[in-house]
Amino acid sequence: MNLRHSWIIALKDIRIFIRKRTVLYTLVLLPLLLSVLFPLVIEYGGKSSGGITGAEIPPLLHSFEWFFVIIPAIIPAPIASYSIVGEKLEKSLERLLATPTTDGEILLGKSIAVFIPAIIATYAGATLYMALVDAVTYNKLGGHLYYPNWDMGVILLLAPLALLLSIELNIITSSRVSDVRSASQLGGLMFLPFIGIYLASEIGVITLDTNTLLIIAGVIAVLDLAMFRISTSVFQREQILTKWK
């Protein structure tokens, strides 16, 4: 595999979709909004009844942290739609497939193009979130919560795994639809299982502690491998040209 080819394809895709407003909004607004909103909740939540106490803060933050797994599950949908369905719409796939690149190199390039901006956006949002949370909770907790914090560390490990799962699902979805909006909407459904986990933790079915998070990470890693197999079987030259819609 020529990784240089994948990198060339990824850079081209990134150059194309950073000009799309929907992609930019998703990349910037969602992580920014959540990373600012949660510290504001800690700071100003329950002001009328004396505010959130120091004891209430850690379980609350546990819930908030999970959103940095949900973000990478949501972000790839619009980007991957442009990366693959956009290429289908511009009818440029045949020409790309006629170059001396392998199916794997193209697929990897498309995946990198989605992965890099999405992970940067997620980690930037998480960093801002941790900094703001520490700033507003320092006095109540008597120190920094996130320096270090293993739960958040596992969350930051889970984020790329969730991201990969979402990218692979979006690749499979993109092969079945012919417009960007449908691809984006179908791919966006990826966040539902993660919302399910969040709700399960909220009603006490599971606890999102370090051990549970590691188990979830292992399950997602296995799913990543399974989805990778499916996406590579879908992304084959002949299928793309003769069977993709």
Binding site: S92, R95, L96, A98, P100, T242
Partner: protein
Amino acid sequence: MIETENLTKKFDGLTAVDGVTFSVEEGEVFGFLGPNGAGKTTTVRMLCCLISKTSGTAKVAGYDVGNDADSLKIRRLIGLVPDNVGLYESLTAYDNLDFYGKLYDRTESQRKESIAALLKMLELWEKKDVPVATFSKGMKQKLAIALALVHDPQILFMDEPTANLDPEAAKTVRDFILELKKQKKTIFLNTHNLDEAQRICDRIAILNTTLRAMGTPEELERSVRGRVTVIQLEQSNDVILDAVKKLGLGDVSAEGNKLTISTADPEQANATILDAVFRAGGRIQSVNVVGSTLEDAYLKLVREREKV
């Protein structure tokens, strides 16, 4: 440069290309004529290693089509102009070309040189930094051809390169193909524009799932029926008619002062015919050789297939 033998492609039991055998020489412009759904694009896709063949053999520049190791080598040697321009509309003309140049592992200086040469030749240099979305259809098609040439391929496959273009843009594209022909590029041209095929191609193959005929445009015209020599006389009579009939070169008919002689090879027979007319006292006003056209040949061959 390109050789196929009994090349066949079936999709879920439906035969798109059936037992096609032909060869294309280096530096030749080879036209592939056929109606929509005849298998032209499928054949090009097989030769460009984009889809697999069901059976038969094909070689491009000596490499086996269908052999995984050879596929990348073939794709490196060829350029493809697909039936859709397939450009990245939000990128500039230069960036589109640069992207493909990189995928063919051209160095930066090679890319700069070939991109400048192509854009200047196609009169797009002034627009090199403009997003392609603003281009006219003709400009996009010219850029699409340039993309296929950015790595200086030996063989160029073109699928309907002038379809949907206005006459002026189509002429520009045709002129460019002729320019490439001068540079000894091997060109495989899919088209259903008969006039274009006749003007550009050295040889033409007519395809309608199976290969119906192959030859130079002139050979295909002649294959339909023998051409006729039409002689306009000042005054026709039976003596002249008998004199021509006695030559036994072909069917002779008279209509007013016009004699029509059907021969296998008018260029060969005309001197003898005119001599006989002259000796019989005929006074000749004009002589014309009226032949069947490529269109006649195409329609006959394609319909023959439909009747089968």
